[in-house]
Symmetry: C2
Subunit: 435 residues, 2 copies
């Protein structure tokens, strides 16, 4: 183990009895105990934990906080970590979370084994779980002793002997019930809960949809391990909205406050998109270069390039903005991708015709050649339709590949439409002008 041979260590631990493993772990140096424990698969971890001396249980919990242990884990490859660290037993999670400050939870997150941005990472252990045989009067008595330790007493969670969540009683229901009935009689059995590895955004949507003050978090075996409260959810929704907005503006977001990061970080957050867009723009440049012959004959055609690519880009940005936000807030749910794209196509055609008519008149006013003006107007209609379809379809394409639709950002669609817009314009102009 000390040589970092984890697979070997794991295979050695597997075939023996929990009590033997527990003894073996107790014999290890402190910083190795926790690593050895984390190598166990979940079912074994439960059994072994029960067998450990209570001193060692305590020291195990202590070790989650230690830098030395985190360093060892940090050096493993991410794959190794993910494969070796199973979910922790509910009991250990509770004990662990109770002893960690929110900051410590962040730094020990690696050892906790929950992915970033999941329910497991944002849950708190400050909940009250009780047995269903308790009466209302006994419960109120218990709450009086427990509640100072736990902030969230508005819901009480009823669990069975195996920590499975079997019911929820709100403090309101408790107060309204007569003292002698049991929790089992008044608890709500239709439980809305989330899983430890659910995305934090999904957790927020659950709380939002059911107007909850808190939602219980359970592990794979439906054991209660924590709760997520509504005040955390507000911050999460806010943060997710900021991320969406940044993505739409072509800025990378990683949860930091943009205004508190260094200039280098700011540049790093922004340069990736700009490079991609620069690359796309070089394509537009190359297309224009290939048409230098046409432009030398008709230099005035150049005057309309910004108008066409600009308007096309804006139409596309509008479509992608509404579709991306619709996908993220689930406003769009009842419409299929086909319907949404068709609607955007029609809206694009409508807008294209209105703007195209205006642009034709303006183009004639600027240079007095009807053929050039018509080329501009017709191109604008075609570009608006194309931009609407691309702007609304690409977020769906991104999503179907499992990517965040917000990556299909407004700058991206703006630049993409530039390329195709210029191509369309030159083709139509050549056709109409006969060049």
């Amino acid at each position: 183990l000390e040589q970092g041979n984890l697979e070997g260590a794991k295979s050695l631990l597997v075939p023996v009895q929990p009590v033997d493993i527990a003894e073996a772990i107790e014999g290890l140096p402190q910083s190795m105990q926790v690593i050895a424990f984390r190598l166990l698969v979940k079912e074994e971890a439960i059994a072994v934990y029960e067998q450990l001396d209570s001193m060692v249980q305590q020291s195990l919990i202590e070790q989650f906080k230690q830098q030395e242990v985190r360093d060892i884990v940090d050096e493993m490859s991410p794959d190794d970590r993910a494969r070796l660290f199973d979910e922790l037993p509910a009991k250990v999670v509770r004990r662990l979370l109770e002893q960690l400050s929110p900051e410590e939870r962040q730094t020990t997150a690696l050892l906790l084994g929950y992915e970033e941005y999941t329910a497991g990472r944002i849950m708190t252990p400050e909940y009250i779980s009780l047995k269903e045989s308790l009466t209302v009067a006994q419960t109120l008595e218990r709450i009086r002793t427990l509640a100072t330790a736990s902030e969230i007493v508005y819901y009480l969670y009823v669990t069975d002997a195996f920590r499975h969540l079997v019911g929820i009683v709100s403090l309101r229901d408790l107060v309204l019930s007569s003292p002698e009935v049991t929790l089992g009689e008044i608890m709500a059995k239709e439980i809305v809960s989330v899983n430890t590895n659910d995305d934090q955004e999904d957790v927020a949507r659950v709380i939002q949809r059911y107007d909850l003050l808190a939602v219980p978090v359970v592990d794979k075996e439906q054991r209660l391990v924590g709760v997520v409260t509504v005040d955390d959810v507000i911050d999460i929704l806010q943060q997710e909205a900021t991320e969406d907005i940044y993505a739409l503006g072509g800025v990378q977001s990683d949860g930091d406050n943009y205004f508190q990061t260094s200039l280098i970080t700011v540049a790093r957050k922004r340069v990736m998109w700009l490079l991609i867009l620069l690359l796309t723009n070089t394509v537009t440049g190359t297309i224009i270069k290939s048409q230098v012959g046409l432009l030398e004959q008709m230099a005035i055609l150049t005057a309309f390039i910004p108008l066409l690519t600009g308007t096309g880009g804006n139409v596309g940005a509008q479509s992608s903005t509404v579709v991306i936000r619709g996908l993220n807030t689930e406003d769009i749910m009842d419409l299929g991708a086909g319907q949404v794209i068709l609607r955007e196509l029609m809206a694009g055609a409508l807008l294209g015709l209105a703007l195209g008519a205006l642009a034709t008149v303006w183009a004639y006013g600027l240079q007095g050649n009807w053929l050039v003006s018509m080329s501009v107007g017709i191109s604008l209609v075609a570009i608006a339709i194309l931009a609407s379809v691309a702007g609304s379809a690409l977020p769906f394409v991104f999503r179907s590949f499992g990517l965040d639709p917000a990556l299909m950002s407004a700058p991206f669609i703006t630049t993409a439409v530039d390329v195709i817009g210029v191509l369309i314009y030159f083709s139509i102009a050549r056709l109409i002008l006969g060049l």
Copy 2:
């Protein structure tokens, strides 16, 4: 009154005693009673309401719901309405809100006299207010009888004889206290409350900042009139984020679900920005037209216009995105406008230098003339700096004029940078190429 002479009616009512006014109101035809009542200034309204026959009180409340009454009010000019309708007495608000469904509250909002998007519009009457002399045991008894009617029992509001909010007791504190103490002894006296005419976004921020489940709403005289709950706040924050995102994408937002509106509405929401942008783009076109002589000599210069305007637009969009979001979430608060713009200027210079170097090399590869390539590179640096400054400064300018910074949307900055970018490019190219 029936001839719509409101000012006259009001002046007639003013000098007499409340009991006389009450009698006069009782003598009016039903649909006029409520109008006459709404003409009273607040202090009088309280006194008159107390004097009214309870049958008439009830019928007054009923009339708030009636279409006929709303029609009369609808026909007044908005100025008249705002001047004549004072805040309602707290007692009437409570009675009224209790009898109205949330939909009815929207339609009678005119008569309620609260502006749209204020705390007055989103508050609910489902709260429990109690006197401070009650003991915990008496309170629990009261809650048992009241709570079925009121959803939000997690906070109890303590009011004095004049409905002034004097303290708050959480259900948690109530359960944890011994039965014989009074509410006055356990209530929190540091009250966080909002005013009826506070903006709903500010209400949301208060709940978010203090991690509350509900916040009490008081009128100008600090009388309790309603509460706003955390679940409504989540929806408001969500809606405000959608509005910001739409504004950034150049789509007007009015709270409707975009995907449930007609095609005409969709086009209307989008056409305004597109027209503004089309207009800005015609300026770019006009500038290019004025340079046709240059372009006829050097048609290859055209190939770099999309690259320069595109990159400049993207840099500007990034700056405006982070600044607008920063202003709306108050992340930016501790930095002044000057600092933010300076930071963006430096970031723009950094990005401009990196991208400019790349663009110079690429431009040389495309056409083999170092002078043209240098013109492109130098223009890109200048445009990036300018775009960063404009993108970060304009939201502050908009805000200082009392406008929503989000109006300074990404499409707007993109198009504005087009205009100036083309000007810079041609000037630098002429200078370097000596044309």
